[in-house]
């Protein structure tokens, strides 16, 4: 199946869970990454049970600090 991961089309075997994808894509500190599937937030507790389907669009949202040390 083809899915869109962070804007890029990727080929993966059927039956892939979001958790499997996180591992395959080597997402750093995944417990602090927010995942959206088809523009909806996916609760962390559903990463194993959510099986991706052909055409799904997955985004990983990362914490980013930067700027000025305010304190």
């Amino acid at each position: 199946m083809k899915i869109i991961v962070a804007g890029a089309e990727k080929e993966y075997a059927d039956g892939l869970s979001v958790e499997d994808l996180i591992e395959a894509e080597k997402v750093e500190t995944p417990q602090y990454v927010t995942v959206t599937v088809n523009d909806s937030f996916l609760p962390n507790t559903e990463r194993t049970s959510r099986i991706l389907q052909d055409g799904d669009v997955v985004e990983f949202l990362y914490f980013m600090g930067g700027g000025a040390a305010d304190r």
Partner: protein, 269 residues
């Protein structure tokens, strides 16, 4: 309020734009924008907003200028090392545009003072580098019904989103809680290219100008990400979290609060 001849000349490139025009320029001159953090993001944002003639600019930062800041914090100069950043930033803004008013807040923004400070402003820019501050700014802006621009930068990357009360999702819709200290690197630990701060800080200024003048579409419900190495901008759609602790009907946060400061941060001071 009529323009003086000098104002017509100073702002001529704005006034000629159909999306801004004389009406938009007057809105900018009457607007009040608060920039929290006079660092990598706040520096370019403050310079462009001052140059644009934003009538009142507040700038908050409790730090002094350090040599290691100058690689990206273009509002400060080598001669400013050791001076409070807010003073250096004020001088630079007024040197570009003496017509504006600059209010300085040489203090940490905390749950005690944030609501009173943001209340006086129309739009807030988050230019801070740490997550407790980012969550504090988000919560206070949601509770005071103030629009703000969130941004972050690290290494060769940056991202930003805009919150408008009653419209888009807030920062806490996307990220529930600050990450534990040291799990997500800061620019001090991981580095950042100065020009990335410039790109993202300028985009924050752009959002402020658009909010004030009503031009175009804001980054509400969208996260803009910038990858300088791939030279790619992407826009990611952000839903609202119907269970958000601060901006939903299920609100459990009713007042701004401070996350505990990690002790290693305090030791660095």
């Amino acid at each position: 309020m009529a323009f003086t001849n000098e104002q017509l000349e100073r702002y001529s490139r704005h006034i000629i734009l159909k999306e801004i025009g004389p009406k938009g320029q007057k809105k900018l001159m009457q607007a009040r924008v608060l920039i929290i953090g006079a660092g990598g993001l706040g520096a370019p944002a403050a310079l462009y907003l001052a140059a644009a003639g934003v009538g009142t600019i507040g700038i908050a930062d409790a730090d002094v200028v350090d040599l290691s800041n100058l690689q990206r914090q273009v509002i400060h100069s080598t001669a400013d090392i050791g001076r409070p950043k807010v003073e250096s930033a004020r001088d630079s803004m007024l040197a570009i545009n003496p017509e504006i008013d600059v209010h300085t807040y040489y203090e940490y923004i905390t749950s005690e003072n944030i609501s009173g400070i943001i209340r006086d402003y129309d739009f807030i820019l988050d230019g801070t580098d740490n997550f407790p501050a980012k969550f504090l700014i988000n919560d206070a802006c949601v509770l005071e019904e103030k629009p703000f621009s969130h941004a972050g930068i690290i290494r060769f990357e940056g991202q930003l989103m805009t919150y408008v009360p009653g419209e888009g999702p807030c920062y806490r819709c996307v990220f529930k809680e600050p990450p534990p200290k040291d799990l997500v690197p800061t620019c001090r630990e991981a580095g950042v290219i100065g020009a990335v701060a410039g790109v993202i800080g300028c985009l924050q200024a752009m959002e402020a100008v658009k909010y004030i003048t009503g031009a175009g579409d804001l980054l509400t419900g969208r996260l803009l990400t910038y990858d300088a190495l791939k030279m790619q901008f992407r826009t990611i759609r952000l839903p609202r979290d119907s269970h958000c602790a601060v901006c939903s009907g299920e609100r459990t946060i009713h007042a701004p609060f401070d996350y505990e400061l990690p002790s290693c941060d305090l030791k660095n001071r």
